[in-house]
Amino acid sequence: MPVDVAELAIDEASLPVLLALGEVLELGVVALDRDLVVREWNRWMAAASDIPSAEMVGQPLLERFDALRGGPAEAALRRALDGATTVWAHRFHRFLLPIPAPAGYERFDRMQQSARIMPTSRAGEFDGVLVLVQDVTERVAREEELRDAVQRAEGASQAKSEFLASMSHELRTPLAAVIGYMDLLEGGMVGPVAPQQQVFLGRVKAAATHLMSIIEEILTFARVDAGKEEAYWEELDAVALARGVEELLEPQALNKGLALELALPPGAVRMTTDGTKLRQILINLVGNALKFTDTGRVRLEVDATESEMRFCVQDTGPGISPADMTRVFDPFTQVDQSLKRRKGGTGLGLPVSRRLAELLGGALTVESTVGEGTAFTLRLPRSVAPATPPAS
């Protein structure tokens, strides 16, 4: 069966149309005969190469561009004479025809090109080669700038995490000594402490302990951000854990005159998770709710299905505007900067909580209505197939 050339090759009769299209689409169109002598060199090619058509037409392409001889370009041109098409991707070849880079892109020594090299036909026979050349210099420059920007951003992000981790560690060590010696002084280990001194020592210790908790939060964030935080799986009672969180934070609620409510299923609910991290998330959520709620209540609700645990922390605080909802889980962000100044904190509690939730195979979501309050919902699987086996 003869090869149906018409389906595979560009018929000579189509060449004028292609040459015209090349001008419109800003494509170089070069037609060669069986001896690879230039038959057509469109105006776009003439302008891009600064070689007039009159000079190119009739000239063997490999004589004009000697660098093409013996290489993949000549092989592709000769394959086209046998009916084969070649895709010439910029990424692998940089360019096909060694012509100057366009103005403004002189840092490339040549115009960066993609090309198609395909057969042409006349009267049902392959009789030459058509080369379509596309200038991709601008695109390549843009892609290089984008890659550089991504690399710079990744480098900066890693440097930030490493800085946070090392600085937090350096701060924690002397602070631990400060708190330790404070305990010794407060306990009268080095002599009697007057009542007024006792009060002052208590305040210093409270401030140091608060500072320590902030440093711990930054350290956790840096570890989670760097992907270095690991989960240690254990089986536990989710109801008992929720009660423990309520007992821990009840004094804070009483101090502000808020009701801290618990809504729990009857009896124990067993689940497999990392208890320390789950406790940390719930303390963050309930602690946050207490911090930002001035009147009313904070409610921790726990329920379970066969496969999932749901922890919901609702408050009657100021709520979060729709515009700010997209940023609540961004690190170092508190949606209302005036509140941040008033309430303090690192702005890391929620991002850390969300990332810990993901580490435990779950998700943390938020719903809020301005003026009515906010509800954070943590969903976790009741049993996980951990990469590391449950701690014995």
């Binding site: 595979l8 046998d82 895709v87 010439w88 991707a89 910029h90 390549v140 991504v150």
Partner: protein
């Protein structure tokens, strides 16, 4: 002829020869050692292709089509899952294209050239076996669904059409990516291939 008459071992060997050629060309092109394996080959009527592939391919696919004409004629397609295509383009260019897993314009060009090399190597090995020239069209890259890809196959007007389905595996030092080759042909082309295989080629 019946599908059962086809010498599948010989056909597998034919694909293997094509893929080895493709691997050598890709290694030369990219400057890194690349192996292209053929883990499995099926031949089935084209209407069964959907049922076979639907278990293996999901969501968007990146495909490179090349129609071929000559003593045997049909449509050859390299089929990759979208994410696998982005990964392959990234691996072959040391991460310079498909940044963020997106098949950007440069990644599509890279895939078009890879597809061109693989498909034309395999089709040439058919041509060598049959001792005739098999010519192929400009490759086209598409992002499409499995249904869309199967609908677009250009086999010709023959009533009975068949698909040679080959699972492939690209092995690079940095990782592996799986994909599929589909060579869709009509009954007359399949008969020619079958006869050539039976006569002792390749």
């Amino acid at each position: 002829m019946k599908i059962e008459d086809l010498d599948l071992d010989a056909l597998t060997e034919l694909f293997n020869i094509g893929l080895h050629r493709a691997a050598a060309s890709l290694s030369e092109l990219t400057g890194q050692r690349i192996l292209v394996d053929l883990p499995r080959l099926w031949v089935c009527p084209i209407e069964e292709t959907h049922a076979r592939l639907t278990e293996l391919l999901h969501g968007d696919l990146a495909t490179v089509h090349q129609i071929f004409r000559g003593t045997v004629a049909g449509d050859a397609v390299l089929v990759l899952q979208y994410d696998a295509a982005a990964r392959l383009a990234g691996l072959l260019t040391s991460g310079e294209v498909a940044v963020g897993g997106r098949l950007d314009q440069s990644a599509r060009e890279v895939l078009a050239e890879i597809g061109n090399v693989i498909l034309s190597s395999c089709l040439s090995s058919f041509g060598d076996m049959l001792r005739v020239a098999v010519s192929f069209s400009v490759p086209h890259i598409h992002v499409e669904s499995l249904d869309g890809m199967l609908r677009s196959l250009q086999v010709g007007n023959e009533d009975l059409q068949f698909a040679l389905l080959a699972a492939t595996q690209f092995r690079l030092s940095e990782g592996e990516v799986g994909g599929y080759l589909i060579v869709a042909v009509g009954m007359s082309s399949l008969s020619i291939i079958s006869d050539a295989l039976a006569s002792g080629a390749p």
